[in-house]
């Protein structure tokens, strides 16, 4: 590496589309050397796509990258690292079974056949001595806390001589103290002109405390940029969520009833890697009401849906339906009419290798008419019922004997929706129902949800699309950091406040 010290980065007119989905359109961004730059935006705004195009994981359709003033073509993360451009991802790329020292050495592009550990350790210790935080070199990475792992990821790149560091939500898994430590450290390096940092974040606190400038994306376009000292959090929030009036709300013909159907109290859950995901979530949903949960993804929404779908065990808290404790048995699910439409329906709610007809019967294959006396399957009845639902919900191709895995994403969604909305439904949990669907399918599904609501179903809608929530929900909640951070009825909602709640922590 010939050059040293902080590097600058400039992106001009970057565009990227995935099929019909425009992820980035004509985005410009300038990050001068020796600054800490924040990249803000809602889900789907294009932040991840932008940095992936920069680092070379995606190839942009259009656009130039200037690194240190020179135009470069980066064709992958390793090429980027060779230039001095490194990225720290949201998921850890460390090898859990190896020690910190081994991970640091393995990250190097060239490793000698026989590793001289004495020399390596000396080099590592010298390097660590210059860093404000210590990570024990001989601990196995799998035993480190999330915060320590994050530090190792950063140290790894610095050890490789990184001059420009991109971080994707670096403090998402850190405690506030750890977050301050890490950001303070980065800030010091930036001010010493040793490093330039581009940080994807949605936390205003971090932006105002540590960043020099900010770029805001909205729906793949540049929504605003500027020096942090010139912008207030409210202004940033406005750029993020837009100041246009709320999307037209669908007609609702009835007001929600007074009866509380679903009640969640102090729910707590942990993710697979041990990090706390839900930290005391309490909410309630009445019959005939849609409660929308907004929020940046990664704040516990997925785990909340998993717990409600019976796919994850809560470690604390209570779920009550109709006032009774809910224990996720099939009998109780049937009695209370609990249905669920999770994200990635093929992976979570269906069996790819079974047919559409069989998948449509997943809720009632063990009761008449699909099972005589609860035991003997009547596949002809299943098939006939499936044909009706396929037709009703417009599943294409309309073949009940096709494997579910052979359908396109949108049709899988329709099929699962068909199953979940049929029969006696009283509580419905929905997550990102229109993700990846085209305009017609989206309108269909939203209409169905509204119809269900009008029929008296209690619906909990978790969505990363704020417009969707505004259109459908009677009450809007914001989830941040595993808790409910904001609550209001849809009529009285304050967009700026939502933006702030989503971003505050």
């Amino acid at each position: 590496m010939t050059a040293s010290g902080a590097a600058s980065l400039e992106v001009a007119a970057m565009s990227k589309r995935f099929g019909a989905n425009i992820a980035l359109a004509d985005v410009d961004m300038r990050v001068p050397a020796g600054t800490l730059h924040a990249l803000l935006g809602e889900n789907g705004a294009g932040k991840s796509t932008l940095v992936k195009c920069i680092i070379g994981s995606y190839r942009a359709d259009q656009g130039d990258i200037l690194f240190d003033g020179r135009e470069v073509a980066i064709n992958g993360p390793r090429a980027a690292r060779a230039l001095g451009l490194g990225m720290v991802y949201q998921h850890f790329t460390l090898v859990g079974g190896m020690t910190v020292a081994e991970n640091m050495v393995m990250a190097r592009p060239k490793i000698p056949t026989i590793v001289n550990w004495r020399a390596e350790r000396r080099a590592l210790e010298d390097f660590m001595a210059r860093m404000p935080f210590r990570v024990p070199l001989d601990r196995r990475v799998a035993t480190l806390a999330a915060g320590e792992k994050q530090k190792v990821e950063i140290l790894k790149l610095l050890y490789l001589g990184c001059r420009f560091l991109i971080l994707d939500e670096p403090t998402a898994v850190l405690t506030p103290t750890e977050a301050d430590e890490v950001l303070r450290f980065l800030r010091d390096l930036v001010e010493a002109h040793k490093l330039t940092v581009l940080m994807i974040t949605h936390k205003f606190r971090e932006v105002t405390a540590y960043a020099d400038a900010v770029t805001v994306l909205r729906r793949g376009r540049l929504a605003g940029a500027g020096a942090v000292r010139d912008l207030t959090p409210a202004a940033m929030a406005a750029m993020m969520v837009g100041t246009m009036p709320a999307a037209t709300r669908t007609d609702r013909n009835t007001a929600p009833s007074q009866e509380t159907r679903l009640k969640i109290e102090a729910l707590a859950a942990i993710r697979d890697d041990g990090v706390a995901a839900l930290d005391g979530v309490s909410l309630s949903v009445r019959a005939g009401e849609i409660v929308g949960i907004a929020g940046v993804s990664g704040n516990g929404q997925r785990e909340l849906v998993e717990v409600l779908a019976g796919q994850r065990r809560a470690v604390a808290g209570e779920i009550r339906i109709d006032g009774q404790p809910f224990r996720f048995t099939r009998a109780e699910i049937r009695r209370y009419g609990v249905r669920c439409l999770p994200e990635e329906p093929l992976a979570n709610a269906g069996v790819a290798r079974m047919t559409v007809a069989e998948n449509l019967a997943l809720r009632d294959f063990d009761v008449p008419p699909f099972a005589a006396r609860g035991i003997w399957l009547d596949r002809a009845a299943m098939r006939a019922a499936a044909m009706l639902r396929i037709e009703d919900y417009n599943v294409r191709p309309p073949d009940p004997d096709l494997r579910l895995g052979a359908l396109s994403g949108g049709n899988v969604q329709r099929a699962i929706l068909a199953r979940e909305l049929t029969g006696e439904v009283r509580v419905l949990i929905v997550a990102n129902p229109c993700f990846g669907l085209d305009f017609t399918a989206t309108a269909e599904i939203r209409a169905r949800l509204m119809a269900a609501r009008n029929r008296g179903v209690a619906i909990l809608l978790v969505s990363e699309d704020l417009d969707e929530i505004q259109e459908l929900a009677d009450r809007i909640l914001v989830m941040a950091g595993g808790r409910i951070a904001y609550e209001s009825s849809a009529a009285e909602v304050d967009l700026a406040a939502i933006g702030m709640a989503m971003a505050a922590h």
Binding site: A309, G310, Q311, F328, T329, R330, A331, E332, I333, R334, C340, P342, A347, N348, A349, G350, V351, A352, R353, M354, E358, A361, L362, R363, F365, D366, A371, G374, I375, W376, L377, P397, D399, D401, L402, R403, G405, A406
Partner: protein, 381 residues
């Protein structure tokens, strides 16, 4: 993407689809079987043996004469049951290879219960009762044994393949220990065995065949298991969990119960095989109870793609191959390991073919001169 289609001469519509689906399910293993046979033929040729002669001998030894048929059926009987022992948990998503251990435990149980009921040997009704008790005891013991890996997997996350493998060794060791120790018949000098069953309690043969009733048990259980898996809500729930455990969780299927029942049925099958081995063939439990039927059952299950109905023809096939080893030895001077080599080829071919399942659509235009009314639409999709 190359593809082969088999154009079936059947009507379009539901019946045609159903037949087409069955054809698809069978095409791949049959193709694999053909490839394996060809490869084996080449192998024999490379060893200086005439493959066609070997093929003729295998055919004769397996299905050629009435005598060879009975030999085949005899060899196939335990495979029917041990194949189920692998296939049933596999349908629920568990890879349990503990058939050998459950078989041994079942045989042991039968050998223990039998002598205590010697008094019933006098009357016909008493003998029948005693036999029922012996077999039931064998099934119960096997069921309990194979529920262990299932329970360990569900409640403790212990890998069921390895735990069932370990339990096999433990079962065989326990059996050997007991047979040579506490349960040893003082009259068995050369080869240690348990007290032999009274002759009146031994299981008889199927009338008309010189094959013991174990064959009938195997056939009945395979059919029953097939009906259970394909026609009942239990089997449906099993398929759901085997296909996607998360979906099973979401719809509230009681996965623990599913696993325990599947493992219990599997263990009961293997245990029955062991009990039959004692009560119909050996007369007592000896070290030769661990003859490898459990491991052969794994092969049967995979070849049948864990479909209980398909286990019947597969067991017959493997039983036939095993039955022909005598002829191969005598006429071509081939070692009896020849059938094991053939089994290995078939197993590998069928496993490798799995990579094509569902991915490469089998579509080959075979022009059959069929009357127009019978020529169906090519299956699309």
């Amino acid at each position: 993407m190359t593809s082969l289609t088999l154009v079936l001469g059947v009507q379009p519509g539901m019946r045609g689809r159903w037949l087409g689906r069955i054809a698809e399910a069978w095409a791949l293993p049959l193709l694999a079987l053909t490839v394996a046979l060809l490869a084996f033929g080449a192998f024999l040729a490379a060893c200086g043996v005439n493959p066609l002669a070997a093929a003729a001998l295998i055919w004769r030894g397996a299905f050629g004469t009435w005598f060879s048929w009975q030999n085949t059926l005899q060899k196939a009987s335990p495979l029917l049951l041990t194949g189920l022992a692998m296939a049933l948990p596999a349908r629920v998503g568990l890879m349990v290879i503990g058939g050998e251990g459950a078989l041994v435990i079942g045989g042991l149980a039968c050998a223990v219960i039998g002598p205590t009921l010697a008094g019933l040997a006098g009357s016909a009704g008493g003998a029948l009762l005693a036999q029922a008790l012996m077999l039931a005891g064998g099934m119960a013991a096997g069921a309990l044994w194979l529920m262990i890996p299932g329970a360990l997997r569900f409640w403790r996350g212990v890998n069921e393949t390895i735990s069932s493998l370990l339990l096999n060794t433990i079962a065989i060791a326990v059996m050997n220990q007991l047979v040579e120790g506490v349960l040893r018949d003082p009259l068995s000098l050369n080869k240690p065995s348990t007290v032999p069953l009274a002759p009146g309690l031994m299981l008889g043969q199927i009338p008309g065949l010189s094959v013991h009733v174990g064959l009938a048990f195997g056939l009945v259980l395979c059919v029953a298991a097939g009906v259970l898996m394909q026609r009942t809500s239990f089997g449906f729930a099993a398929s759901v969990n085997g296909g996607n455990p998360r979906a099973a969780q979401m719809v509230g299927i009681d996965v623990g119960r599913l696993i325990l029942i599947a493992c219990a049925l599997a263990g009961a099958s293997a245990g029955l095989a062991g009990a039959v081995e004692v009560a119909a063939v050996q007369g007592s439990a000896t070290a030769s109870l661990a003859a490898g039927y459990g491991y052969s059952g794994i092969l049967v299950a995979f070849l049948a793609r864990h479909n209980p109905f398909a286990i019947i023809p597969v067991a017959l096939l493997l039983g036939g191959i095993a039955a022909s080893d005598g002829l191969l030895q005598r006429h071509l001077d081939l070692p009896d390991a020849t059938v094991a080599v053939l089994q290995g080829f078939v197993f590998i071919a069928v496993l490798a073919a799995e990579t094509f399942s569902g991915r490469l659509r089998l579509r080959c235009r075979l022009w059959l001169p069929l009357p127009l009314s019978l020529r169906g639409e090519p299956r699309d999709g």
